[in-house]
Symmetry: C2
Subunit: 288 residues, 2 copies
C-alpha cells in the first residue's frame, strides 16, 4: 500500500451495535427459558463525575439489551475491607451474574485487593488475576473488556495477528498487559513499550499492528507508523483525543480506529456479551 | 565492547550455592524458633525417569538446606480429579509449607487444573494463575522458579533491565511468559518471540538482553547477538545443550550463561528460598 493512501476506518460503533443486538437476543432467550433476567451488579465508590457518567451509560446499555443492572453506590469514605465485603457478597448472590467495579475506586482503596474479591465466574469485566491468567494461557475465562473489544475489531476486519509484529504501547493491568497476552495467544510477535522505552518511535516503526494504550494525547505520530500497518487507538484523553495523531497516521496506516467510534464502543459491548455469557453458564442454559 | 572480546560467564552455580547457604541459615533459624522444620511436598505422577531424577535432586537439596520434604508418589494411572484431591489436601495440611507438582504430570492429566489446586500461599514453584498474575502486576507472591532465578542472576551481574530491550524467545506458562512479565515489571521493553515469529534473527539482533527459553538446541547463533548484549540461555535440551550456540555467541555477548552451570542451578535455589519464605509466613516468623 502506498503511503499516500488513506487508511480504512475501523468502525467500532457499528460492530458494537451488532454485538449488542446479538447479546440482547441471547438475553431474551435466556430470560424466556429460565424466567431469570441476566443481571450485572455495578459498584461505584464515591461520586467522581466521570465515573458516575460511565456507570450510568453502562446501565443504560444494559437496560436496552434486556440485562438488569443492580447498582451499589458506596460513599467515598468506604474502606477497602468494606468494599471487599460488598464484592464478596455479590459474588455469593445467585441473583447477580456479573460484577463490575468501576475504576478508579478511589485513592485510599487497594483496588487490586478489591478486584480479587470478585468471583472469577462473575468477573465479566475481566479484572481479576484469574482472568488475566486465563487470557495469558489461552484458557476459557472472561477477557478484559477493552482488549477483548480490540481482538473482535481485528477479527472483524480480517486482521490475523499470527506471525505479525504487534507493538503495545502501555502496560496497564486492564489494557496494555492483557491485549499483549491476547495477541500473543493469537501467535503475534508482541512487544511491550512504555514510558521507559529507549526509542519508542523506532520500536513502533517495526509494528504491523500498533496498539496505543498509554493515555498520552497524540503520542504516536504518522512518521512512527510503518506504511500499511493496522493502528488501534485505545487511548482515551480529554477532548476525545486518542494516543495516536489521527490525521498524520491515517495517511500511512492501512486500517485505523477513529476516536471516538473505534475502540471505545467495543468495551461496553464486550461487557454486555460477557454478562450474558456468565448468566447462561450460571443458569445452566445455552448462551448462544 | 568490541565484538571480538569474549563474554564474561554468569556463574549460576556459585550464586545458587550462596542462595542455598543463606536459605539453609534461614531454615535453621525458623526451626529453632518454632520447632517446626520448613516442609516441601513433592508430588510426582508416574515414573518417568527424568522426572524421578529431578524430584530426587530437589529433595536432596532440601535435605542439605534443612528443609524436610514429603514425597507423594502417585501411579501413572492417577486421574486429574485424584491429583486435584491430593494437591487440595496438601494445600490444607498445616504441616506442609510449599507444594511442588513435578512437570510434566502425564499426558492424560489436565495440568492446569492440577496446578490451580495448589493454594497460592504454598505455590513455591510459582505455577498457579494467581502467581502469574502477581508476577505480571508487580504484586507480592511467588515467582516461577526459573524466571525468578534469571532475575536474580541479572541482578547479581548488575544488569538493570530498565529501558533495555529484552527479547524473550519462547512463551511457555512457566518460563517464557513469566520472565517477560518480570522484566516488564523491571521497566524493560519486552518482546516475545516464538515459532510463528516471522524473522527471529532480526528481532533477536535488536536485543540488549536475550532470554532463550524455547527448547530448540542452538537455535540462536552468534550472528543473531547484538555486540555487547547479555545472553541468558534457559534452554534445556538433551546432551547439556542450550538454545544458544554458546561458542559463537560468547564472542559477541558481554555476559552469557553457560549450559550447564548458568540458569539451571538457579531454579532449585529459588524453589528452596521460596519454600522457606512460605514457611516463615505460615509460621508467623521473620523469614530473613
Amino acid at each position: 500500500m502506498s503511503p499516500t493512501q488513506t487508511a480504512q476506518l475501523m468502525n467500532g460503533t457499528g460492530l458494537a451495535r451488532r454485538i449488542i443486538e446479538e447479546t440482547a437476543a441471547r438475553a431474551a432467550r435466556i430470560s424466556q427459558r429460565t424466567n431469570v433476567v441476566p443481571c450485572l451488579a455495578t459498584v461505584l465508590v464515591g461520586e467522581d463525575p466521570a465515573s458516575v457518567t460511565y456507570v450510568r451509560m453502562k446501565r443504560a446499555r444494559c437496560a436496552k439489551a434486556g440485562i438488569t443492572s443492580r447498582h451499589v453506590g458506596l460513599p467515598a469514605t468506604t474502606t477497602t475491607a468494606e468494599l471487599v465485603d460488598t464484592l464478596a457478597a455479590l459474588s455469593q448472590d445467585p441473583g447477580v451474574h456479573g460484577i463490575l467495579l468501576q475504576h478508579p475506586a478511589g485513592e485510599h482503596i487497594d483496588e487490586r485487593t478489591a478486584f480479587e474479591a470478585i468471583a472469577p465466574e462473575k468477573d465479566v469485566d475481566g479484572v481479576t488475576m484469574h482472568s488475566f491468567g486465563a487470557m495469558s494461557f489461552g484458557l476459557p475465562g472472561f477477557v478484559s473488556c477493552t482488549p477483548g473489544g480490540i481482538v473482535r475489531l481485528l477479527d472483524e476486519y480480517d486482521v490475523d495477528p499470527a506471525g505479525r509484529h504487534a507493538v503495545v504501547v502501555g502496560r496497564s493491568a486492564i489494557l496494555g498487559k492483557p491485549i499483549g497476552m491476547l495477541l500473543l495467544a493469537e501467535d503475534a510477535t508482541v512487544t511491550y513499550c512504555h514510558s521507559r522505552t529507549a526509542d519508542l518511535s523506532a520500536v513502533v516503526r517495526e509494528a504491523d499492528i500498533v496498539i496505543a494504550a498509554v493515555g498520552r494525547p497524540r503520542l504516536i505520530r504518522g512518521e512512527d507508523i510503518k506504511p500499511g500497518a493496522v493502528v488501534i487507538d485505545a487511548g482515551y484523553n480529554p477532548g476525545n483525543t486518542g494516543d495516536v495523531d489521527f490525521d498524520t497516521a491515517r495517511s500511512r496506516a492501512r486500517l485505523i480506529t477513529p476516536v471516538p467510534g473505534g475502540v471505545g464502543p467495543m468495551t461496553i459491548a464486550v461487557l454486555l456479551a460477557q454478562t450474558v455469557d456468565a448468566a447462561a453458564r450460571q443458569l445452566g442454559v445455552q448462551g448462544r
